[in-house]
């Protein structure tokens, strides 16, 4: 085993004595490095230059004494052994040196030189034991510190977990999005912030402030006017909303809020700020803003993490509340639809039942049958049966569309021919209206004839129904582009009230519900879906002269994108 060199600092004025000491040590320690010191300057430099395994010093020095050397060494490394090797010492000096931490005392005389290596070895062993003991003590102290830190961290984690659990429990019980954000803001103060501001996205114009909560309630009122509006001084909030990214300002300054020096908000002295977008299902629903001011607290990464956890819970609660209300609205709409559909179905059924009974009563009387009257009853039954069948077909179409089972089978066919046939048939049913067809001789397009007949009949029926005073109805068929065929139906009727225009193609929407004219509110929805299943488009225009113009565009080319 290769020996580490033994580094010895040897302090002695007498070169002869130093040589004797080195010789004695050299016999015992083959790899020996000795730094010889003969004055104060050398001592200071040597002690500063490196560490030594042992210091051997004479007591009487021309420039100092062994006690000073001992103290200088112990001041740097208390564990390093110091051996006094002297001929001039006394018992008193020896005792005083021992009190100052001297490891051994060896008399300097020819017969004692041999004792010096043994003293060094013993001192080194003691020093090693001392060092181990000191290391153990230090480890124990460090362990204690780590334990204390871990306990503090666990307690903090528990507090945070309890805070989030409370937030979760509280927010789950609410289905009002504004109340959710007010509760969140109240919960955040003062545990997480001196101020908490909550903003909610409200269509169509963006953020609305729903809560400003202050740790110091006496302050809240005076700042409410300034913080209560999203218009002012909310730039990091607006940035968080726009970007969907958290804005973290541990050291916030008025310039982050883009404040003028005379802005009242400067006096609030915001110290630290976190603006977190409330995100759920890839949408930003609002912003939660946490501020510190009077507490002087500076936000750290764990604060940010906790705030984001809180914001996530608030966002999910808001999203759930909105989904719940949307679902409720959908159920209400469906309920209304079912009620209207039942009403629509019962009307022909009332006639069917009544006329059937009327006919039977005639036959039951046993007198001569009034043939014209019976024929009229049967004719009405026939008409009402058709009406009922059409309503049922519409309901089935809606069910098929909802489950994706309504298919179309486009073929190349003459749209102009189809439109002329539909118009002729419709004209027979009305004398108040004049139905004009403007179409080329032939206009080939790709469509499912039965389904497109349904669409055009529906549009033409609507045109008749919603122009009760009569008047002209025009159906134009033309090539809109080399690969697009267009069919437009224009009436001069009552039109559609502007507030209903965005919704007329919605399922179950009835634009004329107030007038009890609207049927089941599914005709336009079905028609547009059919056109879109063809890969075509359907839209509506409102000519300045009044009335309504519905446009259907279909593919003219030999290819069609039909999924």
């Amino acid at each position: 085993m290769a020996h580490q060199p033994l580094w010895v600092l040897l302090v002695d004025d007498n070169p002869h004595d130093r040589a004797l000491a080195i010789r004695a040590l050299g016999r015992a320690f083959p790899s020996l490095e000795v730094v010889e010191i003969a004055n104060q300057e050398m001592l200071d430099q040597a002690l500063a230059a490196r560490s030594y395994d042992v210091v051997i010093t004479d007591f009487q020095l021309l420039w100092s004494d062994g006690l000073q050397v001992l103290r200088a060494s112990k001041a740097i490394d208390p564990a390093r052994p110091v051996i006094m090797f002297t001929a001039t010492g006394s018992e008193e000096i020896a005792v005083e040196a021992m009190k100052s931490g001297l490891d051994d005392y060896v008399l300097k005389s020819p017969q004692h030189y041999v004792r010096l290596p043994a003293a060094v070895t013993a001192a080194l062993d003691r020093a090693a034991i001392r060092r181990r003991a000191m290391n153990l003590e230090q480890e124990r102290a460090e362990l204690l510190l780590r334990e204390q830190a871990a306990r503090a961290a666990a307690e903090e984690a528990q507090r945070r977990a309890a805070f989030l659990a409370e937030a979760g429990a509280m927010l789950v019980g609410t289905l009002d999005d504004r109340a959710i954000l007010r509760d969140t803001a109240r919960l955040a103060v003062p545990f997480l912030a001196d101020w908490c501001i909550a903003d909610l996205r409200e269509e169509p114009d963006g953020l609305h402030r729903v809560a400003v909560v202050a740790a110091d309630a006496s302050q809240a009122d005076s700042w409410q006017a300034i913080l209560g509006s999203t218009e002012q001084n909310s730039h990091p909030i607006a940035d968080a909303f726009r970007s969907g990214e958290t804005i973290f300002l541990p050291n916030a300054s008025p310039k982050h809020w883009r404040l003028e020096p005379d802005d009242p908000l400067v006096r609030l002295a915001i110290a630290s700020a976190i603006c977190i977008p409330l995100r759920a299902r890839d949408r930003t629903l609002g912003v939660l803003t946490l501020l510190t001011a009077e507490s002087g607290r500076t936000y750290t990464a764990p604060d940010l993490e906790l705030a984001e956890e809180l914001a996530l819970r608030a966002a999910l609660a808001v999203d759930n509340a909105r989904l719940y209300h949307e679902a409720q609205a959908a159920i209400r709409l469906r309920d209304e639809f079912l009620s209207v559909a039942a009403h629509e179905l019962k009307t022909p059924v009332t006639s069917l039942r009544g006329y059937a009974e009327l006919a039977r009563r005639q036959l039951d009387r046993g007198t001569a049958v009034d043939v014209p009257r019976l024929r009229r009853a049967l004719q009405t039954i026939d008409e009402q049966t058709n009406k009922l069948a059409r309503l049922v077909a519409q309901l089935l179409d809606v069910a098929r569309l909802e489950s994706g089972r309504l298919g179309v089978e486009p073929i190349a066919a003459d749209l102009a021919l189809l439109v002329r046939a539909i118009a002729e048939e419709a004209q027979r049913r009305t004398t108040r209206h004049t139905i004009d067809v403007i179409a080329p001789e032939v206009c080939e397009a790709l469509f499912d004839p039965l389904r497109i007949e349904q669409v055009i009949s529906n549009l033409l029926d609507n045109a008749i129904k919603y122009s009760p005073q009569g008047g002209p109805i025009t159906i134009e068929v033309r090539k809109e582009a080399p690969d697009v065929v267009e069919c437009a139906i224009t009436d001069r009727g009552m039109g559609i009230p502007p507030e209903h225009r965005p919704h007329i193609f919605d399922r179950f929407h009835q634009a004329h519900q107030q007038q009890h004219l609207s049927g089941m509110g599914i005709g336009l929805y079905i028609s547009r879906q059919i056109v879109e299943l063809h890969g075509g488009h359907m839209f509506v225009e409102f000519p300045p002269t009044g009335g309504t113009r519905f446009v259907v565009r279909l593919a003219a080319a030999a290819t069609i994108n039909n999924q």
Binding site: S339, A342, H343, K346, T347, P348, V349, T350, S351, L352, R353, G354, Y355, E357, L358, R361, T380, E383, Q384, P468, Q515, H516, L517
Partner: protein, 139 residues
């Protein structure tokens, strides 16, 4: 529109207010067969016009109608001076009873109805062969 079945008579007629042509014709036919005098209208506004000419002794009223619905008619009718005929609501709506209560109707009949139920309900308010003036509805 005044139904043809109304014969010039001193008896006050039954007024049928119904927008569906087939149902309107059904009711007037059945009731005329039983000897009632009838007038009819296709919505509430037309019914008010009819009432200006003929004071009815019973009104059979549909609720969902264009131009003026059953609610509008009932409200306008009750604001008129003089005596008011009983109103029987005829509706296919799920909330027939509710709607009838809504306009303080005397009775209601849910569509689709059996003719016998229509007849028995009408006879509750009007005796077909009785001298109508004894009813006191007409002035």
């Amino acid at each position: 529109m005044i139904a043809e079945s109304y014969r010039m008579s001193t008896r006050a007629p039954i007024l049928v207010v119904e927008d569906d042509e087939a149902i309107r014709e059904l009711i007037t036919t059945v009731l005329a067969d039983e000897g009632y005098d009838l007038v009819s209208a296709e919505n509430g506004a037309a019914a008010l016009d009819v009432i200006n000419v003929y004071a009815p002794r019973l009104i059979l009223l549909d609720m969902r109608m264009p131009v003026m619905d059953g609610w509008g008619f009932a409200s306008a009718y009750r604001q008129r001076e003089g005596q008011h005929a009983p109103i029987v609501v005829l509706t296919a709506a799920r909330d027939a009873a509710l709607w009838a209560a809504d306009i303080k109707a005397d009775d209601f009949l849910a569509k689709p109805f059996a003719l016998i139920d229509l007849l028995s309900l009408v006879s509750k308010y009007v005796k077909a062969d009785m001298a109508p003036w004894s009813n006191g509805d007409d002035k």
